[in-house]
């Protein structure tokens, strides 16, 4: 089916508008984290294009449109009454989508198209208020191209409609004034609608627009150091960061790959540092275990909130910076490599009683903060870190089968025999004793006993890491069940078991909930942390006397005056999640994460300090450097003297001079030869033979034939023949041939010239019959003519002289049989047209 140009234009425009509307709503949906509106927009776009634009089966009448719009407005108003704050933005943006969907089912004209464009643009503006990943940027670029296409087609459509209106007015019987002639219809070949040329222009415009937008974004100065963080409607759900965590809760997250945060580790100068071992980002720690739950110590008073202290900066202390970007979470906890200290003015507070770090605002939004840490030495996380404050050891020795019994002198800790027997804790105590007996180190060596127990759990092969839900014996405590009966579980079970086993041996422990990641992005130099990186591990308290110099390393022992905390991670190595090799998909995601990182860093979080440090200052420095270089007189003297020295070296001996001059001559000759080769149409023919057939046939054929004939014309032009504007190629060649007839028969070059012009006609106007044989003939003919036609003499000899071309008897086989008689004339002659017969 052949569509008229106008119908083609209409359909192209309708299709583009449908795409643009859908993309706009998808951008809004990305911000709102909703799939409903994009799905609705996509459906409406498809249906309206099919059943309203393509087949006009479903066209809303005006009254129906009005009714639907009123209903949409009522719905949005109702939603507005139920919401407050920034959610208003969501509701208003919803109205834009509803109106867009309704308008799509109307019969389209310029006005409706404009409305749709406006609604879509406002949706994108609304979407900009939300927080977005790099996906938004990618789709925004696509949206830009689509909207440019819409505006381009709309411009054509408007002009066509104006012309159409003028035509219809002109067709009226008694019309006055001037109108476009009604009989002058748009030709079928008009490039309306989608076509390659327009798309090319559009692509150029789109790329230029992108460049311009980026330049504008970078150059326009920011006014504050706190950019708009973006609305995040639904924060990520977290577990384990409350005052209590049940065993098994983390299992909900371990299948979820949603990004939670990114951590960059740098030295104090800001250079990225790669940490070899997995990185542990600490959240909260729990000292008390009871009834399958870990919880904070209820006897420790809350409210010891304080600002973060600065870390010790002395000899032997290795400090690093950690910059963390945390996604919006449903908790105020923030995560970092522990121990951490103050670095920037991030709005964070530290609760010493809970040993947790919090952000001040409870609004779910992205936060970025930078801290320093002393936990990294030699590109590894150290296992033991100093305790900052004096430690109350008793709370870290709590055992679940002990309970507080009130007595007249106060509460007293007493064993709960029933629990101890029934819940099987006695078996745990027995197991701890057995392992301790098997341990080659004495009971007083807490460090080695802890390490031994860790290895027993991780490497004995008896305990298996599993994310699957394991049926537990309900009569037993989950940890007892894990240790004695069902020896499968995830990190929480391993960590709880180790902590309680060590406590059974009198070693203070606590369980820590946080994230452990191996996912280092080599492009962006950051660690990507996801929900499934949630992890639990154990920290063992080592008193001052337990800490040896081997454990401390280069750090001063004085740092450990309150003792230290040893990190133990008892999960089997198979569950570490570390894979040395990366699949293509993982590499793709790494690249995506890197782009997202760049996006967040340089787009979402671009502020005044970053702009100053990463854009203005480097540019300023570079400019200054160039200016200094330019006006550095000493430098110029040195450069000139250096050039002179090299020059002297080059031309030190006559042999070198000759060598260089010869090389230069050869180079010039080569360049000239190449230039001549490319001037020859045979080169084009060679190129055409290597191009795809379609290209060759449709784009190069005419051009090639024309190029060959032009070349032939140039050859004749050298001999003083010029084609008159009124002459056809055949007439021109015939006139040249006839003007050189000396004998009855034509010479070979004349026949070749006539043959060439006939092939040229066949190829150029032969109605597509461009066969390879013709091409061969054509090129053979031009090469033959090039060889046979004489080359002109130097100009100063041409003037007022006539020249008779030698015939074949004089020139041998290579010369034409006949001769061309031509009177040469200066190039600046104003005479035009074929030369008269000499």
């Amino acid at each position: 089916m052949t569509l008229s140009p106008v119908r083609r234009l209409e359909l192209s425009l309708q299709f583009s508008v449908a795409c643009m509307a859908t993309l706009g709503t998808i951008l809004l949906g990305l911000g709102q984290q909703s799939q409903v509106l994009p799905t609705l927009a996509l459906l409406c776009s498809i249906l309206s294009f099919l059943f309203t634009d393509l087949l006009p089966l479903l066209v809303l009448r005006q009254w129906m449109t009005n009714l639907l719009m009123i209903a949409a407005l009522a719905l949005v108003t109702f939603n507005l009454t139920r919401s407050s704050g920034l959610i208003h933005v969501l509701s208003m943006a919803d109205l834009l989508v509803y109106l867009q969907c309704i308008l799509q089912f109307q019969r389209k004209n310029t006005r409706i198209f404009r409305y749709l464009v406006t609604l879509s643009a406002f949706q994108v503006v609304s979407a900009s208020a939300f927080y977005h990943s790099v996906l938004f940027g990618t789709l925004l670029a696509l949206y830009l191209l689509t909207s440019l296409m819409v505006m381009l087609l709309l411009a054509f459509y408007e002009v066509w409609q104006e012309q159409n209106d003028s035509q219809s007015r002109g067709q009226q019987e008694q019309s006055l004034g001037f109108h476009t002639f009604a009989g002058d219809r748009i030709p079928e070949t008009s490039p309306l609608g989608f076509n390659a040329r327009l798309l090319g222009r559009l692509l150029g415009l789109g790329l230029a627009s992108l460049g311009f937008a980026i330049a504008t974004f970078v150059v326009v100065p920011r006014l504050s150091s706190r950019p708009w963080p973006g609305i995040s409607p639904t924060p990520l759900r977290t577990v384990g960061f409350d005052r209590r965590v049940s065993l098994g809760e983390l299992g909900f997250l371990l299948e979820d790959k949603t990004p939670v945060m990114r951590a960059e580790i740098m030295d104090m100068d800001g250079n990225p540092v790669t940490v070899v071992a997995p990185v542990y980002l600490r959240g909260g720690c729990f000292p008390i275990y009871r009834d399958g739950k870990w919880e904070v110590n209820p006897f420790v008073a809350d409210g010891q909130v304080q600002n973060l202290k600065a870390l010790y900066r002395g000899p032997g202390q290795s400090l690093h910076r950690q910059r963390i970007l945390l996604e919006p979470l449903d908790t105020t906890d923030v995560f970092a490599i522990w121990p951490y200290g103050q670095w920037d003015d991030a709005p964070l507070v530290y609760d010493a009683s809970l040993t947790r770090l919090f952000r001040l605002t409870d609004r779910p939004q992205r936060v970025s903060y930078e801290l320093i840490t002393s936990a990294i030495e030699n590109q590894r996380l150290v296992d033991i870190v100093p305790a900052i404050d004096p430690v109350i050891r008793e709370q870290y020795l709590q055992l679940p089968w002990f309970k507080w019994v009130p007595t007249w002198w106060g509460p007293r800790l007493q064993i709960d025999e029933q629990m101890y027997e029934q819940q099987g804790w006695n078996r745990v105590v027995e197991l701890a004793r057995t392992w301790a007996d098997n341990c080659p180190w004495p009971a007083s060596d807490h460090y080695h006993i802890a390490r031994f127990f860790e290895q027993q759990l991780a490497y004995s092969g008896e305990y298996r890491y599993s994310l699957a839900g394991v049926p537990r014996n309900a009569t037993l405590d989950p940890v007892v069940d894990f240790l004695t009966e069902h020896k499968e579980g995830h990190c929480e079970y391993f960590a709880s078991a180790l902590a309680l086993l060590l406590r059974c041996r009198g070693i203070p422990t606590r369980i820590v909930i946080g994230y452990k990641t191996y996912d280092y992005n080599t492009l962006g130099h950051f660690y990507q942390v996801r929900q499934n990186d949630a992890h639990a591990w154990v920290e063992v308290y080592l008193a001052r006397d337990q800490i040896t110099e081997e454990l401390v390393g280069n750090r001063p022992l004085d740092l450990f005056r309150y003792g230290g905390w040893l990190r133990l991670d008892p999960i089997p190595p198979s569950a570490s999640g570390f894979f040395a090799s990366q699949s293509a998909w993982q590499r793709f995601w790494n690249a995506y994460n890197f782009l997202d990182h760049i996006w967040l860093k340089y787009v979402m979080q671009m502020d005044q300090p970053r702009q100053e440090s990463e854009i203005y200052r480097p540019v300023r420095n570079q400019v200054q450097k160039r200016v200094n270089w330019l006006f550095d007189t000493e430098g110029w003297k040195q450069r000139i003297s250096e050039i002179g020295r090299r020059f002297r070296n080059v031309f030190a001996t006559p042999t070198r001079i000759v060598g260089y001059v010869l090389s230069l001559g050869v180079l010039v000759a080569l360049v000239w030869k190449l230039f001549r080769i490319f001037q020859n149409p045979a080169w084009l023919w060679w190129l055409a033979g290597r191009l795809p057939r379609r290209l060759k046939a449709h784009q190069l054929s005419e051009h090639l034939a024309t190029a060959v004939f032009r070349h032939f014309e140039r050859l004749l032009h050298r001999l003083g023949y010029r084609r008159l504007p009124s002459q056809t190629p055949r007439q021109f060649v015939l006139s040249v041939v006839h003007s050189n007839l000396q004998h009855d028969s034509q010479s070979s070059w004349q026949k070749t010239a006539l043959h060439l012009v006939s092939i040229y006609y066949q190829l150029r106007f032969g109605n597509g019959q461009k066969e390879t044989a013709n091409w061969d003939d054509l090129f053979r003919a031009i090469v033959q003519l090039e060889n046979h036609l004489p080359r002109p003499r130097p100009r100063w000899r041409w003037k007022n002289k006539s020249r008779e071309l030698p015939n074949s008897t004089q020139k041998g086989d290579q010369s034409p049989a006949g001769s061309i008689v031509a009177v040469m004339e200066p190039r600046h002659s104003s005479i035009r047209g074929s030369r008269p017969n000499a």
Binding site: L144, L148, M151, A155, G177, T180, F181, R201, R222, D607
Partner: protein
């Protein structure tokens, strides 16, 4: 052509809204430091910025030619063809709109009432090198005069319709719009002048011998007995009648007095135009008949004369004079009539049309036309119909006043506009 013309670029209405939206986004981005909005502002403003270059470049290398007739009658359909071509070898011109300008007698031409359209324009969606494209517009010019078409304004809203770049190409051509021709409904005596030559072959000869003696011939049925040359009839013994040369083609002198008062109203102008149309129709009909010698005198702002044998060439000259003549308030009727009499031979038919609502018989010189210098003018006739037809010495003299209520009976110019 047109590459070095001055190109003006301005915002279209859509572009103005677009610019306001861009400014709003930029302002919001700066006030709230919304980086995404700033990026969006950059993306939105970029097309506006690049449209400026693109629109200007789109006007380079356009060659325009206009084709239109050199003359046309007022009210006739005028079709103007415009051919455009790209002179630059590579690339294309997109969405080119050519707007023609029309001025009449050096003044800007206003569209006639009821035509609320923009000035005439044609659109080329794309122009390529070496392929001339032709578009046309049509319309009607309702008033006589010399119309100048051009310069042509070349404009484009490519690529996005936000900006319109325009330049002028000094392609000017003039068209003479002749007065609209009407239909003459003259009295029978005058109509005989407009009979065609062939129709008189078998006409009945009148008794009056108005020409020179030519010869004798045999009597035919219907010949007047008075034409019988009895002496020759007796000699030849058959009835012979005399033959006379009849002057079939006579001189016609047409005078148009286009006087208007010093404070003319619209009606005065209409009256003058009607007189011009009457004279134009008269000239046109006489020239179509051919054979006559016509003198046309126009007493407008100044008095102008043109005379010559009736032919298409003379018709064009006379109509051109009528087209370009200007009405005036100079009352030079007497002088005009003297000149009229001077140019009229005794056998000439004289037709005078005037805008003045006065009896020409009151004019002292009128009698010299009518009766010769010796005669005295008669008493004023009833002005019921002042289209007098009186016999002069051989010729006829007719005067018509456009102001007369029954002028419509003689001349009708409400011809239907051709579609």
């Amino acid at each position: 052509m047109g590459d070095r013309k001055r190109i003006r670029v301005h915002l279209t209405r859509l572009g103005k809204y677009y610019a306001i939206l861009t400014a709003g986004i930029f302002l919001a981005a700066m006030v709230r430091q919304v980086n995404l909005l700033l990026l969006l502002a950059g993306l939105v403003s970029a097309p506006l910025f690049f449209s400026w270059f693109s629109a200007r470049r789109n006007l380079y290398g356009i060659k325009v030619r206009r084709r239109l007739p050199q003359r046309v009658s007022a009210g006739d359909l005028l079709v103007v063809e415009i051919e455009a071509e790209r002179t630059i070898r590579y690339g294309q011109n997109w969405l080119i709109t050519l707007t023609d300008r029309i001025s009449r007698n050096g003044e800007a031409f206003d569209q006639p009432p009821g035509a609320a359209d923009p000035p005439p324009r044609v659109t080329f969606f794309s122009l390529s090198h070496g392929v001339g494209q032709i578009a046309a517009y049509r319309g009607r010019l309702l008033e006589r005069g010399r119309y100048v078409f051009g310069p042509i304004q070349v404009s484009t809203r490519f690529p996005l319709g936000l900006l319109e770049a325009s330049m002028e190409i000094p392609e000017q051509q003039a068209v003479l719009v002749y007065p609209r021709l009407g239909v003459l409904n003259l009295p029978p005596l005058h109509r005989s002048h407009f009979d065609h030559e062939g129709q008189t072959r078998f006409e009945r000869r009148s008794d009056r011998a108005s020409g020179d003696f030519y010869g004798l011939r045999q009597w035919r049925a219907g010949d007047s007995p008075r034409l019988v040359h009895w002496r020759s009839s007796l000699r030849h013994k058959e009835l012979l009648v005399r033959q006379f040369d009849r002057p079939r083609h006579r001189d016609v002198v047409i005078g148009a007095n286009l006087w208007i008062p010093e404070s003319p109203t619209r009606e005065d102008f209409d009256r003058a135009e009607k007189a011009i149309r009457f004279a134009a129709t008269l000239v046109h009909d006489l020239c179509r008949q051919g054979g006559n010698h016509i003198s046309l005198g126009i007493a407008g702002k100044k008095t102008e004369w043109v005379s010559g044998p009736a032919s298409p060439g003379f018709r064009d000259r006379a109509l051109e004079l009528l087209t370009l003549t200007t009405v005036g308030c100079r009352d030079a009727l007497e002088t005009f009539l003297i000149e009229l009499r001077r140019r009229a031979s005794p056998e000439s038919d004289v037709i005078v049309v005037t805008t003045q609502d006065r009896d020409l018989s009151q004019v002292s010189m009128y009698g010299t036309i009518r009766y010769g210098r010796e005669s005295t003018p008669p008493e004023p006739r009833s002005d019921k119909l002042r289209a007098n037809q009186l016999t002069a010495r051989g010729g006829q003299v007719a005067t018509y006043s456009v102001a007369a209520k029954d002028f419509e009976l003689i001349f009708s110019d409400q011809t239907k506009v051709e579609s």
